[in-house]
């Protein structure tokens, strides 16, 4: 059979010779390997002080974006919910009333917008589907919670604050 990689090694079932039988050379070889590892660079990050950088394509928690004037971009078209393979997104649309023009950009907006972070697979399809550039995936991840309902993120959790707060993730749950 042709192998995918040529790294496969056939199992050696020959009986052990004398040097293999007395174990000691192999043990000493192993000791040498572990001794070398004593001085190797440690792979650990000291987590709270030192954070591992995310890769540039990392997809984390979602945010709902606003435009330059601070109005919500989302028009509750539902394309993100349709695109979502995990069916994690639900929303309810509402019509913009007169006098709310500074809050919502279009005539229609999402009155309720929920993402279930337990269902979400962070594929980023919602981001691609959105015609209004309203939803984005950030570089944070959902913090732990004691209850399932804590993982259902509502609009208040997802919407980035306005004006933007410096040095604080918009979606951080306090």
């Amino acid at each position: 059979m042709e192998t995918l990689t040529n790294r496969a090694k056939p199992v050696d079932r020959r009986p052990m010779n004398f040097w293999e039988k007395i174990y000691l050379p192999a043990v000493i070889k192993g000791l040498g390997i572990t001794f070398r590892h004593l001085f190797k660079k440690k792979a650990t990050y000291n987590f709270p002080e030192q954070k591992r950088p995310f890769s540039p394509v990392f997809r984390g928690l979602h945010i709902l974006n606003r435009d330059e004037e601070g109005r919500e971009r989302c028009t509750a078209c539902g394309l993100c919910a349709v695109a979502c393979p995990a069916e994690a997104i639900t929303m309810e649309a509402a019509e913009r009333k007169p006098g709310e023009e500074h809050l919502y950009r279009e005539e229609k907006y999402a009155a309720r917008y929920e993402i279930n972070m337990l269902r979400c697979i962070f594929c980023g399809f919602c981001e691609e589907a959105c015609p209004k550039d309203a939803i984005y995936l950030t570089e944070t991840f959902a913090p732990a919670n004691y209850q399932r309902k804590g993982f259902i993120y509502g609009k208040e959790d997802l919407l980035i604050p306005f004006p933007p707060i410096e040095n604080q993730s918009a979606t951080e749950k306090l």
């Binding site: 043990v27 590892h37 004593l38 440690k42 650990t44």
Partner: protein
């Protein structure tokens, strides 16, 4: 009469006993830290580094945690024996230190103070006897837990320790043929002017070392507790400080067996070039003690190093190694030693 003792001697020995116990407990405490740190380094991790600088207070934190854990005694356990087990294991672990010569003599206030608690003329046999009693702590604790895993661990521990004691004893006999004395003090003094006995007894030392690993229940011979198969073997049911005693006694055993190996094969408190140093005898004794402890630390490092390198033996491999390899090898070593000793005379 050998029981005529002066008050000075009693005080002196009591101080010495307290000091040795304190030091061995302290070293055992920090061997747990060293174990965790070295394990981490070997596996490219950092190890405990939160309690104090470099995690130096970690053993205290561990001890505190064990003290505050809930004390659980299983309902169907034999209560008296359940408590007796860890206590016995701890006592036997500490007892061996009595005959180890920790240093030569100190001259303080006109008195010669020997840095050895008891120079009995059967020193090695005493060590051997105490080691053979160590198994009772395991057996009693494991049986009293009334748990199948504990009983299996107990049986493994007991048969392992008995099997390896034989090879250990045989390897020692070859050494004793050279020394002609069972007193550890004499053995160290003999190495003071000649070469260390490792040169005369390399095979004997190797057998002794392997057996020491087995007697201490250290990986690769930790079948008594093997966490992955027997869920800690004989101390499955133990919690709180009783568990702490079992774990801690293992490190004391390691420390003491390192001390015994250094004494027997690596010259004890002697160090190269000690006779050409021009210092006062007291200074020389202190340097000797330091040399002794450095050698012990090297052995402790070796114990830990091997643990994180070699995987556990299978049970039949363990028995095969003990009975079919080490014992014949030890007997062969005995015969060769005897032949070489008789050869110059004929």
């Amino acid at each position: 009469m050998f029981l005529e003792i002066s008050a000075f001697l009693v005080i002196e020995k009591l101080i010495l006993v307290a000091a040795i116990l304190g030091i061995s407990l302290f070293i055992a405490m920090y061997s747990t830290y060293a174990e965790r740190k070295l394990a981490a380094f070997i596996q490219d991790r950092r190890g405990p580094n939160r309690a104090g600088i470099f995690g130096i207070l970690q053993p205290l934190a561990d001890g505190g945690k064990l003290f505050f854990k809930e004390e659980i005694i299983p309902e169907y356990a034999n209560k008296f024996l359940f408590i007796l087990g860890p206590a016995l294991f701890m006592i036997t672990a500490c007892m061996t230190s009595a005959v180890v010569p920790w240093g030569s003599t100190l001259h303080i206030a006109g008195r010669d103070i020997s840095l050895q608690v008891a120079d009995v003329n059967i020193g090695i046999l005493y060590v051997f006897g105490v080691v053979s009693l160590g198994v009772y702590g395991i057996m009693i604790g494991g049986w009293a837990s009334n748990n199948k895993y504990s009983l299996l661990g107990t049986i493994r521990a007991a048969s392992q320790i008995i099997s390896y004691e034989l090879a250990m004893g045989l390897s020692l006999i070859a050494l004793l043929m050279i020394t002609g004395s069972l007193s550890l003090k004499d053995i160290v003094e003999q190495q003071s002017h000649g070469v260390w006995y490792i040169v005369y007894q390399p095979i004997g030392f190797l057998i002794f070392l392997v057996c020491a690993f087995a007697e201490c229940n250290r990986t690769p011979f930790d079948l008594a507790e093997c966490d992955s198969e027997l869920v800690m073997g004989f101390h499955t049911e133990y919690s709180s400080m009783k568990l702490g005693f079992y774990l801690f006694a293992e490190y004391i055993n390691m420390f003491i067996s390192s001390a015994v190996m250094v004494t027997l094969y690596f010259g004890g408190y002697n160090f190269p070039g000690m006779h050409s140093l021009h210092v006062s005898p007291n200074m020389l004794t202190i340097l000797g003690v330091i040399a002794f402890f450095i050698k012990i630390f090297i052995f402790l490092f070796f114990f830990i190093w091997v643990r994180w390198t070699v995987p556990r033996f299978r049970y039949d491999q363990l028995m095969k190694l003990g009975w079919k390899m080490l014992i014949p090898l030890a007997i062969l070593n005995l015969l060769i030693t005897g032949a070489l000793m008789l050869y110059p005379h004929h």
